[in-house]
Symmetry: C2
Subunit: 398 residues, 2 copies
């Protein structure tokens, strides 16, 4: 019998996935589950964008250009200009979600055996793209007690070897909600230019910044033209996760030309979804403004309530729609499973993402968890009531 690949074997199943059977069983038993575990927004997708797809006259649903509709890419340049990034439509390849954009970045910039430095906790799926590409993630631990700020540059320097090809961050961060400052990005600029590294930045949560914080895209930083590779997506911005439309954006012509060859091999991004994506560029700015306000209200409720709970540490996230907390429990893998299997409060329970899945360093994250604030305020409050009640009775409380 033929055997599967080592890379396939080495890809960990995410801790959230391990919880799914317990969640299904709980639902079968009639328990209500508040999902704080996933980044699937509840905000409606702009109806005008859905309408654009549904009113389009299509006879043959044909391949598009491998880089995506030229009309869409040209229009995107205005969007990038709106936050100060001077980008040509030829610097953009439309991808099937940011996921594919990251894969294009890995394939175009790194070879099997190469290394990429990533502050942890990080978005667990970066493991999938790295392992697919035969690339090793070298983590640097960002600390909850520092609010998950960028670790000191000296920590990065210690990890750089001849195999290091890139540093990757998510800004604002999934899973921590941390918003990197311009100063932190300039510190990263110094190190990537000094060591000839790429700087991969996942900017899919770009719009979601709170408390008057200013967003700084690496695309606006002079001197990073050849280094910065940005991964983008409409999934969160326009609550269109199922569209699967993202982009890889860079002013490094060699990278884009190389990514284009991988893009041609897979022919084209999805046509229906590109129609939707292009239409989102005509959506009134109030759509995003209202979404930001709504997330901000939830954020405030979430952070305040969590910090009121005895033994809970919750840094204040300034972006995205996640917070990463420390809980007074033995082990959040066990706790999250227990919440689904053995606990209920008013007929309901809460599902969260255990912290271990976001760390590459073995043993870290065991009393941490990621919470997404993608529920309306009322449900969010009910979810927090559950969590508070659960922490009082959990047998593994420390």
């Amino acid at each position: 019998m033929p055997t599967i690949s080592n890379r396939g074997n080495s890809l960990p199943a995410s801790p959230i996935r391990k919880l799914v059977p317990f969640a299904e069983e709980a639902k079968r038993k009639g328990k209500k589950i508040y999902h704080l575990n996933i980044g699937q927004p509840d905000i409606p997708t702009p109806p005008s964008a859905i309408k654009a797809v549904q009113e389009k006259d299509i006879k043959v649903l044909a391949y598009s250009h491998s880089a995506g509709f030229e009309s869409y890419r040209r229009k995107m340049t205005d969007y990038y200009k709106s936050f100060g990034a001077v980008i040509s439509h030829e610097d953009i390849i439309i991808s099937t979600g940011a996921s594919e954009a990251i894969l294009f970045g890995v394939m175009s910039c790194l070879d099997p055996g190469d290394e990429i430095i990533v502050p942890e906790p990080f978005y667990a799926n970066y493991n999938g793209f790295s392992i697919a590409g035969g690339v090793t993630v070298k983590p640097i631990t960002a600390k909850i007690d520092d609010g998950f700020a960028l670790p000191p540059i000296s920590a990065f320097e210690r990890l750089i070897t001849s195999k290091t090809k890139a540093i990757m961050i998510c800004n604002p961060s999934n899973p921590t909600g941390y918003l990197y400052s311009k100063e932190e990005l300039l510190a990263l600029k110094e190190i990537v230019t000094k060591h000839n590294l790429f700087l991969f930045v996942d900017e899919v949560y770009r719009e979601f910044c709170y408390g008057g914080e200013e967003y700084c895209s690496v695309l606006t930083i002079d001197g990073l033209e050849e280094h910065a590779i940005v991964f983008d997506s409409i999934s969160k911005r326009y609550s269109a996760c199922g569209a699967r439309i993202g982009a890889i954006v860079s002013r490094n012509k060699h990278v884009i030309a190389t990514a284009m060859k991988f893009a041609q091999a897979r022919l084209s991004p999805p046509t229906f979804a590109q129609i939707l994506a292009e239409a989102t560029l005509d959506v009134e700015s109030t759509y995003i403004e209202e979404a930001i306000e709504e997330y901000d209200r939830r954020r405030k409720v979430l952070v305040a309530r969590l910090n009121e709970m005895e033994g809970v540490t919750c840094p204040t996230p300034k972006g995205a729609f996640y917070t990463f907390v420390r809980l007074p429990v033995d082990n959040t893998d066990n706790f999250c499973k227990w919440l689904l299997e053995d606990f209920e409060h008013n007929g309901a329970t809460v599902m969260m993402a255990p912290g271990t899945g976001f760390y590459a360093t073995e043993g870290l994250g065991k009393n941490e968890a990621r919470l997404a604030y993608v529920l309306n305020i009322e449900d969010l409050k009910a979810a927090l009531d559950c969590l508070e009640a659960a922490l009082k009775v959990y047998p593994g409380r420390i």
Copy 2:
């Protein structure tokens, strides 16, 4: 300045892509181009399937299950049963086109440095997926004078090393139109079971078989349960190339479980397109029957006309919608470029895919080309008039 990856550098740009600027220039000059170069069918996508997308009430365009809609996968099992394949919905992962399915297969079954044996000429994009995965393609030349039949098994055996993990075919074949017989598949069974290899089969043209030939899917062959990995797609079957919906199908549970981890890393296949794909399963069978009849008419015209041309060799393809021909020219890369740049007949010319792009062995395919019969009969005849006239005056004729 950071440098791109070796794998990115080693991925060849396809010879068709190199022709695109010449085609654009020809169009700018007002020349009509008959496109025999791409597999984009002209047959309308089933209107009922497009309607299913356009009438669906969607508030939040959400992620789907990472393996695709369960309802769609369950319905697909009936489709597979229709040609004798007993498949459970858990043996299927819906992918973003067959392209992503192939990538999942490569990632799940092969490691960087492993080898895959592929009869050439083969679909040029297999290079992209192999290079992305760090895998080496070992070609075995199928000969035009044998009608591109499966090379003798002894030729495969000679190539097998400790690094060989899989054999891959496309059945019926893009680019040759060759339809593998059950006997040929049984010969492949013998070698993959003897050497513990996977058998990757791209079956996206399954329906398109002509002249009363019976199709044999590897999914129906006993004893290949653990070896056969099938790549599928609705792109050609339902003329829905832009949907980007395919599937990886296997009864090898380890492979599917591993592919599932890569599928989870990219979250989900496109939602709109899955609605379309599920609706195609309710399309009347006359849709496919009429498409097959139409392609068969074109095939007959194409093969007859090509073989009437002096010096042209065209084996009779029994499947898909391509034929791979030998032309009496010095070099088809030059000839195809000359057709676009320097030739016209009644204000028109023809674009074809040069043969070299389909061979991994350096130097092969130089007087061959692939022609897709995706034009209506009238245009196809006009395209053949162009080709005939061109062959008479081409300065590099041999």
